[in-house]
Point group: D2
Chain length 310, copies 4
C-alpha cells in the first residue's frame, strides 16, 4: 500500500468552512445551508488509490485520476465524500426530493410541532403554462393580468387553510390530524445527508431541463454554489462527462456513420427502418425519438438528412 | 446441496391468487390491491436451506425453521419473498409511507395527469384530540357538536381548493404548478413493491399504537388480510416474537432480578440510581422511562416496588 | 386511473416457465438456474401507466413506451420486475458479484456445512496474459506448453488444500476455521434475487469487455439466455440504448462539431487544449483519453484529425 | 425552528482527532485505522431537534434524548453520523463483512495490483474445535500438540500458494487469474464508510457471541476503542438497550406472568402447549427454544419450573 499507516489530519476544505451554516435563499421562503461535510477531491483520490494499490504509480496526477473515474463510471470512490444540508422546501417539491432513496433524512415533524407558517407563493408573472410536447412540463408564462387574479386567490386559499388549521388546533384537535388540509405549498424543513456519488446522480436528474422549476432552483444552487466549492475537480469532470456530454444510441451511431460517409440515402433508409419517418397526407407524423435525434444532430453540426433540401 | 438441480414449478399460494386485484377498502376512499407476489413460506425455507446446506438435516420441520429464523433475526431468507401492491392513500399518509426506503415505487404523477379528484374526509365523530403524554399522538375524540362544524369547513376548503385547481388548469397553467395548493388530504395512487423482511419492519412500526391512525389502518389491513394469507407461518412467528414480545433493557433486567429475589429495597435502590425516582414536594416527578418500566412490570404481573404500599 | 380495480391473474411468461430450475452450465463446474420471477415487460408498462395516468393515452404502444423509459432513464418501472437465481460460482468471482449491493442474497454457509468439494480449474490453453494498456485486465493467452505446467500445479495445490481442510475437520477443528486456507477458486452457491433495473446495471458492468472473463461468462448467460426470454422488449431496448450506445463527452462533442464543419485545424486545436496531444522527441506521448477518443471517432466513421496525413 | 440559520463550526471530537490514522492491531497482521468522521453525539441531538421542532422544549437534556431515541428505535438521527475506516482483514473475514450492504467500500484490487503478501496465521494453541449445540460455531480448543502439526502445515500451504502465485505472475499470467488459488486467509485492505445507525447494527450482529471469532475481534475494537470515543452517550445507550437488553417473546412473557403469580402448574402447562416439553424414555428431548428460555429465566433469577424439584 502506498499510504503509510501513520497519523492523519482531517480533510478540511476552506471554501466550505467559510459557508458553513450560511443560508442560501431559494424561492420566496426556502433555503439551503451546509451543516457539515466529510472528505473532498483528495479523499476520492485517497480511496481510489486503495483500490489500485501499487498499480497507480503511473497515474500521477489527481485531476487526471478523478476525471478517469468519472469518465468510466468508477463510482465507488465518490461515495467516500458526504454532505449534510439543512433544507427548507415546499412539501410539493419535497415529494420529488424524497424519491431519492439513498440519502439520510430527518424531517421537521408536524405531529410533534406546529406546521411552519409559510407557503410557496407565486408572483403574477410567475404562472407557467402547460407544455405541449413534453406532457409533464411547463413552457412559457401566463399573461400577467390573468396571473394577478391567480396570485390573489392563491393568497386567499393559503390564508384560509392556515386559519382553519389554527382553529382546529385551538379546539384541541391533534396536530397530526389538524394538518391534513394544509396546502402542498407549505414549507417543511429537513436535514439531508448524502454521499457525493448519489448527490451527483440527484443533480443530474434535478438540474435537467425537464425537471420541475422549483426543484431545479435547489439543484442548481447545490451544484454551482456548494459542490463547486467543495470538490471542484469532480464538479468539472461531472460537467464535462455527464452534464454536457451527449449519449448516442446504437441507432444514432449508425446514422452518424452514414452521415460521416456522406451517404445520405443510407441515413434516410436507416431512419425509415427505425420507424422515425412515417408520413400522413404527405407530412411527417410526430415521432418523439426523431425529435430527439434531430436535436442531437444539430448539436453535432450534422445535417438532418430527411430535412435537407439540396 | 440438498436440492437437485432439476426442473421447478413456480411457487403459488392459492389464498393469494383468490384475492389478486381485489380492492380492500381503507378510509373513505382509499384501497389496497395485491397485484402480484413472489414466493411464500416455502421459499424462506428453500433459501435458508441453501445457507445451511447439509447442516440442516436435523431441522426437519419448516415451521420450526421459520420460527428459529424469526427469533434469531436471521432476516435474509425473508427477503426472498416479494409483494406488489396497488395503493390509494391520502398524500399526508403517503408522506410517512415513503420514508421506508427499501421499496420500489411508481406513484401517480400529477405532472402528467390531472390530480385525483378525492380527498380524505372526516366525519363529525372522527376528530381526534391531542395526546398529552405522547407529544406526537392523539387520544380521545372531540365532541361531535364541535366536530360537525369542522367537518363542514373541511368540505368547504377541499371544494374551494379543487375549484381553484381546475380554474388554474382551465386558464392554461401547467399541471405541475396548478397542483401546488391542493390539500395534503388529496388521494394519490402508487404501485409499491417490497420484500417480506422489509415489509415486516414496515408493519412493526406502522401497526404500533403510536403510529398515526391513518397509516395504521393500511398497515393492519396489509398484515391481517394479506401477509396472513400469503405467509401464514412467518406471520405467526412475527406476532409471537416481534409484535407481542417484550424487550427488556439492561436496567429492567436488573430490576426484575431484584424482584425475582424478592429484594424490594434493592429494586428501589436501582430505580434511584437510574434517575427514575426524583421527588419534588413529596411527589414523584414525571419520568418517561419510569412510565415505560411500570407498564412492562404490570404486563409481567410483577409489582411496582415504588408504588407498593405494604 | 386507466386500470379498473378488479380481479387479476398473475403475470406468467411461458418462455421462463419452460426453463425454471434448469441448470445453465458456466465454467468447469458452475451453473445458473432460474428459481422464480415476478412480472414481465407487461408489468413495466402497467407500473409506468400508474405514474402517467391519463397522460399516457397517446403512448399507445407498449414497445414504444418501454423504449422511451429506457432511453430517458426512467428506471423505476423496471424495478417492478424481480428475478431469483440459484448460482454456483467460484468464490473469487463471487467477491466481485457481491459488490452489487441492491440484491437479496442467501449464500451457502461453510460455517454450517462442509465446503463444496469443487474448484475452478484452468485448461492448459486457458491461461491469460496480463494486459499492457489496461492495467486491470488480460489479453492473449500463454503458450499451451507453459500452461500445461501451470494446470498441473493448479491441480496439486487444489488437492493439497482440500486434503488439509479435511484433515483439520477430522481432527475436530471447527468448520469456520478449517476453511481458512481453501483457495479462492473454491465454488460457492447462493440464491440471488434482484429487480430488473438493478440487474441491467449489473449486466452493463459485467458484460463489458473490461469485466473479468469469469464473471462475464455468467453475465452473458443471464443476459442472453434469461433476460432475453423474460423481458424481450426491455432487453432489446437495453441493447440499443445502453450496451451498443456511445456516450460522447463535452470535449468529444466539440471535436465532432469541428469535424462536421470540416475544420480540421480547430479539431486539432481543441485536442491540444484538452492536453491530448503532447509530444516527446517528436512522438505523441501516451494519453489514455486520446486513445478512447480515437476509438470513438473510428466507430463513427470520422477521421482522426491528428493522424490524418493529407 | 429552534436553530437560527447562522454560521456554524464543523463538529469536532477531540478524542477522535487524537487517534486519526493510528493503526489498531487485530489478528496477526490486520488493523483498523480511523480515516475521518462526520458528526458526534451532538449531531444526533441536532438532527432529532429538527424532527421535533418546538415540540422538544421539554426534552432538555441531550443524554436523555439520545437514550430515548435508542430505546424507541428512532434510528434516523443516528444516520447523521458517519465513520470512515481503513481496514486490513483476511478475505475470509471480509466475506462476512461485505454482507452488510449499507456501507461504502473501496477495496484493494488484486486485478490492478499484486496481492498483499500476508495471510492470517494460527498459533498451535489457537485451533478451535467444532461446537456441538451451535452447528455454526466453535467452542474449546484443540490440544496444542495436534495444533503444532496444523500450524506447520498451514505455513506450508500458505507458502506454496504464494510461490505458485508468483510463478504465474513471472510467466506473464494476468494478475486477475493468477490470484485464483490464493487462500481465503490472504489479507485484503479496504476503505469502509458507514453511518452510525448501520454501524451499530453491524456491531450488534458481529460482537455477538455466535459471531465468528475473527470478525468479533474487529467488531469489539470498533465498538470499544472507536465508537466509545466518538459518540460516548450513544454507545452507553446502545449497551444498555441493545447489547445488554433481553428480548422476551409472547410465549416467554406468558411464562413469566405465571411465575410472577407463583403458578408453577400454569407455567408448565404453557411450556407443554408450546411444544417445549416432549419426553422420550422419561427424559426431556432436546429443544432449541426451551434451551434459550432456560437461559433467559436464569438471567432473570427466575426458577425454571420444569427443572424445579421441590
Amino acid at each position: 500500500m502506498e499510504q503509510k499507516p501513520e497519523r492523519l489530519e482531517r480533510i478540511q476544505v476552506a471554501a466550505m468552512d467559510e459557508i458553513l451554516g450560511k443560508p442560501f435563499k431559494v424561492l420566496n421562503d426556502g433555503f439551503i445551508r451546509v451543516i457539515d461535510y466529510l472528505g473532498s477531491d483528495a479523499s476520492i483520490v485517497q480511496a481510489a488509490r486503495v483500490s489500485y494499490g501499487k498499480g497507480t504509480k503511473k497515474v500521477q496526477e489527481d485531476r487526471g485520476l478523478i476525471r478517469y473515474l468519472m469518465r468510466h463510471d468508477h463510482t465507488t470512490p465518490f461515495e467516500m465524500c458526504e454532505l449534510k444540508l439543512h433544507l427548507r422546501v415546499p412539501m410539493d417539491c419535497w415529494r420529488q426530493w424524497i424519491r431519492h432513496r439513498t440519502a439520510n433524512i430527518n424531517e421537521y415533524s408536524t405531529r410533534y410541532s406546529i406546521a411552519i407558517d409559510a407557503a410557496q407563493t407565486t408572483q403574477p408573472d410567475e404562472w407557467r403554462t402547460q407544455a405541449v410536447t413534453n406532457r409533464q412540463g411547463s413552457e412559457g408564462l401566463l399573461e400577467t393580468e390573468k396571473g394577478k387574479t391567480l396570485t390573489r386567490k392563491e393568497k386567499e386559499i393559503q390564508d384560509l387553510a392556515r386559519q382553519l388549521y389554527e382553529e382546529r388546533l385551538s379546539l384541541g384537535v391533534a396536530r397530526e390530524q389538524a394538518r391534513k388540509d394544509l396546502p402542498l405549498s407549505t414549507f417543511t424543513e429537513a436535514y439531508w445527508k448524502i454521499d457525493l456519488h448519489n448527490l451527483l446522480h440527484f443533480l443530474e436528474l434535478r438540474m435537467a431541463e425537464n425537471a420541475q422549476f422549483e426543484i431545479r432552483q435547489y439543484a442548481h444552487l447545490i451544484g454551482y454554489e456548494i459542490v463547486h466549492r467543495w470538490c471542484p475537480i469532480s464538479w468539472e469532470a461531472f460537467m464535462d462527462y455527464r452534464i454536457h456530454g451527449l449519449p448516442l444510441s446504437r441507432l444514432e451511431v449508425e446514422l452518424v456513420q452514414a452521415l460521416a460517409a456522406a451517404d445520405k440515402n443510407q441515413a434516410i433508409r436507416l431512419a425509415k427502418d427505425y420507424g422515425w419517418l412515417e408520413y400522413r397526407d404527405g407530412k411527417l407524423t410526430r415521432n418523439i425519438e426523431r425529435g430527439e435525434v434531430e436535436e442531437k444532430l444539430k448539436r453535432l453540426n450534422l445535417t438532418i438528412p430527411w430535412l435537407d433540401k439540396d
